[in-house]
């Protein structure tokens, strides 16, 4: 049967199971939009292409399915760039489909022509420029396969307008040939035995749980390893949820704003078992003094990540689920009670400084607001966040029992990620309790998507931790630039009025005693709600490992009297 290139595109998307796409139409992708009307797919019209990228990314992170975002050529495609880089840094499977000018116009600076495959080459796992309709089926099939397999990542398909229009015989490729694409599968038994022996010999082991555990759906195997060999688990920001927060083996988050006892455990460990994490600088601090006594096992699917930052003693290449499944039979039961006692001591010391135990002093602290949201949602909400202080507080004070409930931009640190990502999450399951924890700075970067939320009738609850500052930069200025607040005070708009202008019910909260009622209001109001929490302006995230400092060299919150109650 002869179909247009645009129709072939949708035929292929249907075969990939695509149900929802996010995007904006424009001159160079109109045939794609026109053909879309014939197919059972829901299109979400965004207000800026960055929003489409983050929505598709949020959708992918929360469901494991490939997200899809559409944009036209030129500015439409360049507006995706931040979102593509965000997906790339966090290994999120998203297929981006952009329109391109007619093939014969390429290179001639045609209207809305931009070298999109050139621009996105370093921020995609792979990309394609399609100039003929005959190529589309093969390319789409490859793109989805590459996006979701191995170490997942974004793939961009740039389709020339003539290829969208041209008619050709539609033949769905039965198989794809990618001679240069061979993600490793699992490690050989000899290596697995070595790992099991290292685990057996260790006295102070720590598991470093990364995003890979969620991507590979290997968190249960990791939990089994932790329980069987009695190993505490430190999580990266994106690894949060891989170990239930209530599990006694859980040490919470590691790194720059990680728990002090978690970082101390890493620094004093004699064995690190790194699972699907990449020793990012935010996690290690000074590499020269990082975990100096520890042997290191690194399980990774991407060989280029091994020995990149930290040279390890035993790399195990492969898919985490396969490697852990194959490793577990070699792992013996063990107890490390002394090690856990030591960590408990550190934990008690950390608790003595924790703001969550501070008595009510009439001030509204973000940590307390987030803990209240945790209570009001029974700890079962999915949170999408922006980037900054609120993000770190959300990671610290919303304990997650389940994976895929903390959706946040880690590697790229993209402000403005929260609102659009949350909408993407909502589309994975509309019964999901979806919250955005945002900052006033982050929120304003993609605030236009409020109207997308309204247009879609999405039930997304937005909580802005409004400190009238670009709070994280302000904190660095306080600590490292003698409190010279260059360009960090924000005179934001009235967010309640902005919400109401969109038809979104909203409240402002300025005192601790108002928090409970406001959260009840959010829970009881169907559809989207916005809450504008005016929190303490100059509060800092603790502990903090200054950039490049030793991981154990943390700026700590001063100890304060506990509540007499």
């Amino acid at each position: 049967m002869e179909l247009s290139g645009a129709e072939i595109l949708w035929e292929c998307l249907m075969r990939e199971g695509v149900e929802v796409v996010f995007g904006i139409p424009g001159g160079a992708n109109m045939p794609i939009y026109d053909a879309m009307l014939k197919y059972p797919v829901h299109h979400v019209l965004v207000r800026h292409e960055q929003g489409a990228a983050h929505m598709a990314d949020g959708y992918a992170r929360a469901s494991g399915k490939v997200g899809v975002a559409l944009a036209t050529s030129g500015p439409g495609a360049t507006n995706l760039v931040t979102g593509i880089a965000t997906a790339m840094m966090d290994s999120s499977p998203v297929v981006f489909i952009t329109g391109q000018v007619h093939a014969h116009l390429i290179g001639g600076d045609a209207f809305q022509e931009t070298d999109v495959t050139g621009i996105t080459l370093p921020i995609t796992k792979h990309n394609y420029l399609v100039t003929r309709a005959e190529e589309i089926a093969q390319v789409v099939r490859e793109a989805f396969y590459i996006a979701r397999t191995g170490r997942p990542g974004p793939v961009l398909i740039d389709i020339c307008k003539n290829a969208q229009i041209q008619k050709t015989e539609f033949v769905y490729p039965e198989k794809i040939e990618l001679p240069g694409y061979k993600p490793p599968r699992t490690a050989p038994p000899s290596e697995l035995k070595k790992a099991a022996q290292m685990i057996k010999e260790s006295r102070r082991p720590v598991i470093l749980a990364g995003h890979g555990l969620l991507i590979s759906r290997a968190y249960r195997e990791m939990q089994e390893l932790s329980h069987r060999a009695h190993i505490p688990v430190a999580m990266t920001l994106l690894g949060i949820g891989s170990m239930p927060a209530s599990d006694p083996h859980n040490l919470g988050m590691m790194g720059m704003h990680g728990e002090a006892y978690c970082n101390l455990a890493i620094q004093n460990a004699d064995l690190l078992i790194a699972l699907g994490m990449r020793f990012d600088d935010r996690v290690t601090g000074n590499l020269k003094t990082y975990a100096p006594h520890a042997k290191k096992i690194h399980v990774e699917i991407d060989p280029s990540e091994v020995h990149k930052n930290v040279v390890v003693d035993l790399p195990l290449f492969g898919d985490l689920k396969a490697v852990l499944t194959d490793l577990l039979p070699y792992v013996e039961e063990a107890r490390h009670d002394e090690w856990f006692d030591q960590i408990e001591e550190w934990r008690a010391e950390s608790d003595s400084r924790d703001i969550i135990y501070w008595p009510d002093d009439g001030k509204l602290y973000t940590a307390h607001v987030i803990r209240s949201i945790w209570e009001a949602t029974q700890g079962k909400a999915t949170l999408a966040t922006g980037v900054g202080q609120h993000q770190m507080w959300a990671a610290q004070y919303y304990p997650f029992e389940e994976p895929y409930r903390f959706i946040t931009s880690g590697g790229a640190g993209t402000m403005g990620f929260g609102v659009p990502a949350a909408l993407g999450v909502w589309f994975t399951d509309k019964s999901r309790d979806v919250w955005v924890i945002d900052g006033d700075g982050s929120f304003q970067m993609t605030q236009a998507e409020l109207s997308t939320i309204v247009q879609e009738g999405a039930s997304v609850k937005i909580a802005i931790m409004n400190n009238h500052f670009l709070g994280m930069v302000r904190q660095w200025q306080e600590f490292f630039f003698e409190s010279r607040y260059a360009a960090t005070p924000l005179h934001g708009p009235d967010f309640v009025k902005i919400a109401e202008a969109h038809g979104i019910p909203a409240q402002r909260i300025t005192k601790p005693e108002e928090v409970k009622d406001a959260l009840q209001f959010a829970n009881q109001t169907p559809g989207p709600v916005l809450l504008d929490f005016w929190v303490e302006k100059e509060e800092a995230v603790y502990p903090m490992v200054p950039a490049g400092a030793d991981l154990h060299d943390m700026i700590r919150r001063p100890v304060r009297e506990k509540s007499p109650a």
Binding site: H126, I146, K182, P184, S304
Partner: protein, 182 residues
Amino acid sequence: MQHTLIALVENKPGVLNRVASLFRRRNFNIESLNVGHTDRKDISRMTIVINSDEVDARKVEANLYKLVNVIDVQDVSTQPAVIRDLALIKVKAALDQRAEIANLASIFRGRIVDVAADSVIVEITGTEDKIESLIELLRPFGILEMVRTGQVAMLRGGYEPVRHTPGAGSNGHHPEEVLEFD
């Protein structure tokens, strides 16, 4: 130390750009890069020479594999290999100097491929050292222009190529397999 890598890549538009972009963004310093055809129309061959320690050489290799269009990477640095570079050297040559230059060239198994009134072009093929030596001998005459291809390499017969990156070879790639999500 000098590492010589051979990469087989799909012969598709933009592949050279992907490789070059990789070297730039990962901050890898390359000594030379040569690209050419193989016996197969759909596969091109790159010889990449880098001056780096072992760790960085492995990083280059692993990162090359990350490119979907890169099919195979071999490290021939520690193996017996034929490594050749070709240079064209235009040298200032008065009538009475021609014979001397031709003589020098022939010692190095080079040859004169062009003669003009006041210059000659010497063509030489060989290892980097050999070419460097000839260049130094020709320098006093006055080198007007020079071009080198960069090194090309091939493992000697009877030796197995060394591949350091896991995933290379048979381990992996199951095209029909789809990752299941529960």
